[in-house]
Structure formats: structure tokens, C-alpha cells
Symmetry: C2
Subunit: 469 residues, 2 copies
């Protein structure tokens, strides 16, 4: 149903001058996805300052049958936060800390707070919130929850779902569902918060969350390891997990991904004189570093003697740690050149990553002879960010991006994997989501969608194909 002038009048009156905008210049930055892949439009930007105001907006839209696109920090990678005519609901004014309880290791914060601010708040209380990802300065708690974000510490601390104790949600009819408990154990009926985490705003608007905190890290060690193959990386991962409960990240980067970062990003240097097929970044974080450096060196020496690894360098300073992480975090920028490419955020069982990389290479070659693979990611989680790059001479038009993505996704799914490990479906992955998901699962999702949002006004273009209600 189209947005009517009457609805806009009602929303304006409810929100007051500070709470909305219809000025195209004010709205513009929220209409463009940050890599400029999606551009949207909206007649109205709502910027409520409280849960009651969010409820009033949703209630008015529900009464008018008008659709809403909720937006957090606008760092999403699948276009789910960009409106196409819907009311744009930004939570960016809702950033309050509602409660912090260090002895319960819990924090209640509103959905517009950025991840970086949550890190800061936790640190000031002598605690830590462990989720960490590149866009943390902008990404908001509401957006991170709605996409069940991951990042570099998932293997030890889990994704947003695992780090959440409670939620406050405005339902599709404007009622406020308060699930903001800070309990570690609570088995009283269905765990309703689970429905809203990862739902990309299609079932309601998350307005606040109770998050788990952890003890702060006292000792950190970051290591870069040179490996001759993905199989060796997998063996190293298994051995490391058997030896160290303090392993908090195990990232891999193929040679091509590092070469492009070194070539295209300022102040990034190759870590080894001879580029290995794969470089792994290992991070260990503990509450007590006693004797750890010795244990780590002994462990790495043994892997060198076994010829499982060909080289290793342990960061000896905070600056060197940061340089190692900067290499990892520059890979994404490194390959975003003008070269035609198809990007993927796939996962598979951890044990299948070497097979996935081989099969993806073969598939890419079949479709585009001379294509290269940029692959890096969170090997500890089986999550690979895999990009197929066109050969240098190929034009954008000649590059069969959709066919490649469909084939790469087929490879992942064929190995029991996923077409979207941590980015979500949004609008970008809808076609392949529909193609690769069991129709019964889609039908079950549609039943839940219809039960909680019968008018389909909550981010209706995201995730699900239109279906029988």
C-alpha cells in the first residue's frame, strides 16, 4: 500500500521536528549502501528517540498498511537496509545504556549504539564484549542482531545470537514485546528472542538488547603462519584447537588475496619473503599470559619440524599485532579494484574448506577460463569470503557474474554449506536463497512471518519470496 500524506502527517506529529526528516539532503546518506551497490528512496525518514516513539511509528504504519525498512548503521552487505519507497526507520538516536551489571556480566543497551561504543562501555566497566568486525565504528547493535553478525572471534565467542541474553522488540502491530531479561538460564516457553535475531527486520524492530560481557583480555598473542596448502591449514587448525583453549581467531588468506592487498592498499607489506599458498593469522587471548609465549613457541617449533608449516612470525609488539591484523583487514579493499568480480560469503563444514576451495577454483575456470580466486576468511568457522576475479582483459559486460555466483553457491550447498555465512540474505541473495533452500523450510519461514507480521509491512522485500499466507 502506498504511503499517504495522512500517514506522513500523523508520523510528523508523533515524532516532532527532531524525530523525522523529509529533506532529501538529510536522507541521502541513508539511501546508499556503503559500496554504492544499492540506492534507494523514501518519502520519510523516522528517527525516533525512544521505544514508545518506535511503537507509535510502527502502529501508525500498521494502521495504514504502510511498509517499513528499519536501518541500523547502514553497513549491511546485502541491501536489506535500503528502502525502495518504504518508510525508513532509523534507530540512530537510540543509543542509551539502560543498565550495566559487571557481576552479572551483562549490559542492556539501545539498538542504535555502535559496536565500538559497546566495546568502550564494557571496557569502562572492566569487562569485554568480544564480537569484533571491520565496520564496528558504524555498525549498530540492532543491525548486528538483525543480521546475526559474526566477525573474527566467532570460533570462541559465537555470533550475535550467542552473545544475547534478551531483547526488546516492537512487533509489527506496534506493541512492545519486552524480553529484556539478563538471565543465563531461562526455560519458560518458547525463546521468542531467537525469532527476531537474524530476521533482518522482517518480524519486528529490535529497540534494545541485553548482551553478555566477558572478562577482559590480559594477554594477547598474534601469529602469522606460512602454509603450503589449505589441507595443511586445516591440520594446523585442528592441532591448535586441541592444544589451546585460548585460540580466539584462525583466519586464512590465499596468496592472491595478500598480493592484491599489498599492491592496492597503502602501508600493507607481504609478511613472508616468499609468498606461501596460504597465510594463517592466529590470535590467542587469555586472562593470564603466564608461560604462554614459551608454550606457543614450542608448539610452532614442533609444527615447523613436522613440516606442517613453512614459517611463522609472532608479533613482538602491539604495533606488530596491529600490522598483522591490518593485513587481514585490508584484503577486502585490496581486491575491490575495477576488475569484474563475483563476491561470496559462503560456509561449509570446517573440514571441507580445502575441498571447497578446490571445487570453487575448478568451477570458476569452467565458466571463465583464466579467472582467479581471491579467498580469505574465518577458517575456524568454515566461513570463506571467496571472490572470482575476471581475467585482466575481460569487460564487466562479458563477465557472467550471476552464473558464477549461482555455481559457487551450488558448490557450497553441495558440501552441506551455506550461501550466506554471516551477511544475511537481504535483497542481494534472495534468488539463490529461494533456489537453494528446501521449499518446506521456506514455507515454514513464511508461516512464521505471517503469524508475526500478517500484513507483511516489516522490511517486506528482504529474505523471503512472496508466498502463500
Amino acid at each position: 500500500m502506498p504511503v499517504t500524506p495522512e500517514l506522513l502527517d500523523r508520523l510528523s506529529a508523533q515524532l516532532g521536528p527532531a524525530g523525522y526528516s523529509t529533506d532529501p539532503d538529510v536522507i541521502a546518506p541513508k539511501l546508499v549502501e556503503w559500496r554504492q551497490r544499492w540506492r534507494g528512496h523514501t518519502p520519510f525518514l523516522a528517527r525516533p528517540s525512544s521505544t514508545a516513539e518506535v511503537a507509535a511509528v510502527v502502529s501508525a504504519c500498521a494502521a495504514a498498511g504502510a511498509a517499513i525498512t528499519p536501518q541500523g548503521g547502514n553497513t549491511g552487505l546485502v541491501g536489506g537496509q535500503i528502502p525502495a519507497g518504504e518508510i525508513l526507520l532509523s534507530l540512530d538516536r537510540m543509543t542509551a545504556v539502560r543498565a550495566i551489571d559487571p557481576n552479572n556480566d551483562s549490559l542492556i543497551v539501545e539498538a542504535g549504539a555502535t559496536l565500538a561504543s559497546v566495546h568502550q562501555i564494557a571496557a569502562e566497566a572492566g569487562r569485554r564484549f568480544p564480537l569484533s568486525l571491520a565496520s564496528q565504528g558504524s555498525a549498530s547493535i540492532g543491525g548486528l542482531l538483525s543480521t546475526n553478525a559474526g566477525g573474527v572471534h566467532v570460533m570462541r565467542f559465537g555470533m550475535m545470537r550467542d552473545l544475547t541474553l534478551g531483547l526488546e522488540v516492537v512487533l509489527a502491530d506496534g506493541q512492545v514485546l519486552n524480553l529484556l531479561r539478563t538471565l543465563r538460564k531461562n526455560n519458560t516457553g518458547y525463546d521468542l528472542k531467537q525469532a527476531f535475531i537474524g530476521a533482518e527486520g522482517t518480524l519486528g524492530v529490535i529497540t534494545a538488547a541485553a548482551l553478555k560481557l566477558f572478562a577482559p583480555v590480559i594477554s594477547r598473542h598474534v601469529v602469522l603462519v606460512a602454509l603450503a596448502s589449505a589441507d595443511d591449514a586445516l591440520t594446523l587448525l585442528a592441532r591448535t584447537k586441541q592444544s589451546f583453549e585460548t585460540l580466539s581467531a584462525f583466519e586464512i588468506m590465499n596468496a592472491r588475496s595478500i598480493a592484491l592487498a599489498v599492491a592496492n592498499v597503502a602501508n600493507v607489506k607481504a609478511p613472508f619473503d616468499t609468498a606461501p599458498a596460504f597465510t594463517a593469522l592466529l590470535e590467542f587471548e587469555s586472562l593470564d599470559g603466564l608461560g604462554f609465549a614459551d608454550r606457543l613457541e614450542t608448539f610452532l617449533d614442533r609444527q615447523l619440524q613436522d613440516r606442517l608449516i613453512t614459517d611463522a612470525v609472532i608479533a613482538r609488539s602491539k604495533a606488530q599485532e596491529e600490522a598483522f591484523w591490518k593485513l587481514r583487514e585490508s584484503l577486502s579493499a585490496g581486491h575491490r579494484t575495477g576488475t569484474p568480480q563475483a563476491n561470496h560469503d559462503i560456509s561449509c563444514p570446517v573440514s571441507m574448506t580445502p575441498a571447497l576451495l578446490s571445487a570453487a577454483h575448478a568451477t570458476a575456470q569452467e565458466l571463465v577460463p583464466g579467472a582467479t580466486i581471491v579467498a580469505f576468511g574465518h577458517m575456524g568457522d568454515g566461513n570463506t569470503h571467496l571472490t572470482v576475479m575476471a581475467p585482466q582483459e575481460m569487460s564487466q559486460d562479458a563477465f557472467p557474474r550471476d552464473a558464477i555466483s549461482h555455481s559457487i553457491h551450488a558448490v557450497a550447498v553441495g558440501m552441506g554449506g551455506s550461501i550466506s555465512a554471516e551477511h544475511g540474505i537481504g535483497v542481494a541473495r534472495k534468488a539463490d536463497f529461494a533456489a537453494f533452500t528446501d521449499p518446506l523450510a521456506i514455507e515454514t519461514m513464511q508461516r512464521i512471518k505471517h503469524a508475526l507480521d500478517p500484513q507483511s509491512i516489516m522490511n517486506p522485500r528482504a529474505i523471503l519470496p512472496e508466498g502463500p499466507a
Copy 2:
């Protein structure tokens, strides 16, 4: 709708002689809750041997509008597994291991497998499944998932929900929903498995699960600590969490709980000459014990010097470790004397446990002057098993059990807590669940129930009050 002879004929034909029973002697053990608090009846015990057979049973019942009570190991504590005329669906013949992948730290097992067998299967593959609880020899994976079971290692490894990668579920119409992926990261639409975990069989029948495995423990240390107050226990917990990532259990036991176990359970001895107000059991598990014993002793010495703790004893042998755990695991039996009592499985924010214990004591005294409190549980999770015991002279009839429970639950809820931390609602806690749960949350649960089980044939008496559909 009543179960008809036609339905029983159809089920018998589908399942074959080995797959069902109508013999009262065969069925009898499955009709009595293990503490004899609930006794049920059923015209038909279905014992399918495969997912296809479960699907056939559910499909036939759905067509006939007949209700089903699924049952795992019959160790549930809230009566949700005991039928009252429904078809009884036992998964006890479905115990197969479908796949194990040590390099993915994953195991796929059928729902009838016991927790103890899963421990064994994991150990044989050089891995570990960390969930641990007293009934593990009987409790089945399907039942543990349906009640989102907890146990003694939740503070480090989480509950069943946190340990599950995928599920296979037979839906209420008999269709098989295969969500059996073994991925650490998968954000492709709604995470449907979450709906069935903790749903106590009211939304479908879990037939198999993909579980997370972990590296095996190399070094274990178990300590008993004497404490003068619950506040001191809370401080000790906070300090221990700040110092040791290897802390895997932090249990507390009040003096009364230990005294009753010593008096009533064979071979249980008081750990300290003078009974402290609270005794804490701490367990540390790590992949490498290097230097750990020294660190632990130094830590405990510091707490003694600070007078935070009054005594401590570290188990020096496997036998002593087992004796410490036997004390903890005997508490439940210790107070199940003939004395009138009201039992509770409550939780609160970890920081509120001392206040909860004080308030519970005051509340009990108000209702029953001279009542005593037996309290023990998982302080690391804020989960207390709290029993109000009648004074010696009081009769069962005079003891106001329901009024006490309602008041104790009110105390927990008033502190942001839960009336059921790890046991679920079943039929035992339905009245207080309805009384203490936000009506909007109940309505939202009913919407989900109606979306997935529109005829309400799946364990219809558990959890939810009858509601508008």
C-alpha cells in the same frame, strides 16, 4: 479428538509388530514420572525405528486429529513427557550415529541416543560433548533438546541450544524438515531450529541433531571452598572468572543441603570439620595443565589471606574429584525425605543470587514459620535449586505448597528472574508460567504454535494455556 480404533489399526500396520505396543505391562514404565509425581495413560505406544516411521505416525495422527505426547528418556522433571490419553511417541529405538566429523567438531545422532552414549561416541573420536547432568545415563538427546537442558557446565559451554548446529524435525503435519547442517555460520533466513529447541515437543518431533564437539580435557582440577556467606561466594565467582578461562563449573551448596545429604545418602561425608554457611565446588578443565596447580594454589591462598574464603581443599586424585562431585550430586536425593517440601528451579541475574536467597528465606518464614531452605545449584549461571522444607511437625496437608511456590516464583520474577531455569514448564509449571509471563509474550507464543501446529496435536497440554488461535 479421541483416538479411534481405525487410527490404532493404521498405526499398527505402519509400524509393524516391533514398532508399537498396546500391552499395559510394556507401556507401564513410560507412564510414570521417575519421582512418581505424574502417572499417565495411553491407548498406544509408538516406537518408530526411523524418521520415515515417525513421519508416518505424525501424519496419521494429524489426519485423525489425534494428539501425540513425544517422550525421550523419561527423565523430565515437569511432567511434559507423560501422556494423558494421547498417543505416546517414544524415540527410544532411534539411537543411530549418522555422522561424525572430528575435523568439524560435529556429530549427527538420532534423538533417542542417551547423553552418556554421546559422551562415549565423542570420546572414541578424540573429542568431547560437554553437557553433563545427573540423569545422563537415561536422558536422550531429543528430550534434552526439547527442554533445552543445562547441567553443570553451562557457564562455559552453554545449554543444549548453544551446543546444537542442526536438527531434523517431523512437523505437526508429518512432513520432515531437514535442518541437519553442521555449520558454525549460516545466515540464510530464519534459524528455524531455534523454534523447536526448548519447545517441549509442542511444535514438532525432533528426530536427529547435529551437535558441537570440543577438544578433550587433559587437565581437571576440582576444589571445595568454605564460605561465610552468599555474598562472599559471589565475590569469589567474579574473581575466579576474571582469572581463569578454564573455569567450567561454579556450584554452591548451603549448609542445610549438605547436612541432609550427609544424613540421608550413603558414603557422603561433610567436607569441612565446621560446616560453613556455603560450600562452593569449582571445576577447572583445560587442554594443558602446565603450571595450573601452582596458579590455583596461589589464587586460593590469596583469597584465604583476604578472608574471602575460610577454607579450601583441592582434590588430589581422581577418586577425590569424584567424591567432591558425589557430594554435589547427592544433594537432590538428600532432601527428598518424607518432609513436606516445595521444590523450585529458579534463576536470577548472577549478581542477585545472595538477595534471592535472603528474600526466599524471608518469604518462606512468613508463610510457614520454622520452614528451612535447602539451596544449591549453578551459581555461575544464577540458577538455584531451592526447596522450602516444612518444620518437622508439619503434615503434608498443612503445608501450603502451591502458595509457597507462587511466592518464591514471585520473588525470582521480581528480581528479573525466571520460574524455570532449566527444567521447562511441562504441566507442572503451567499455572505460574501463565501468572508470571507477559500476556503479549504468551500471545506471541500462541501465534507461533498456531502457525506450526494449527490443530494443536503436538503435546498440547504442555507449556501454553489454551488461547485464541
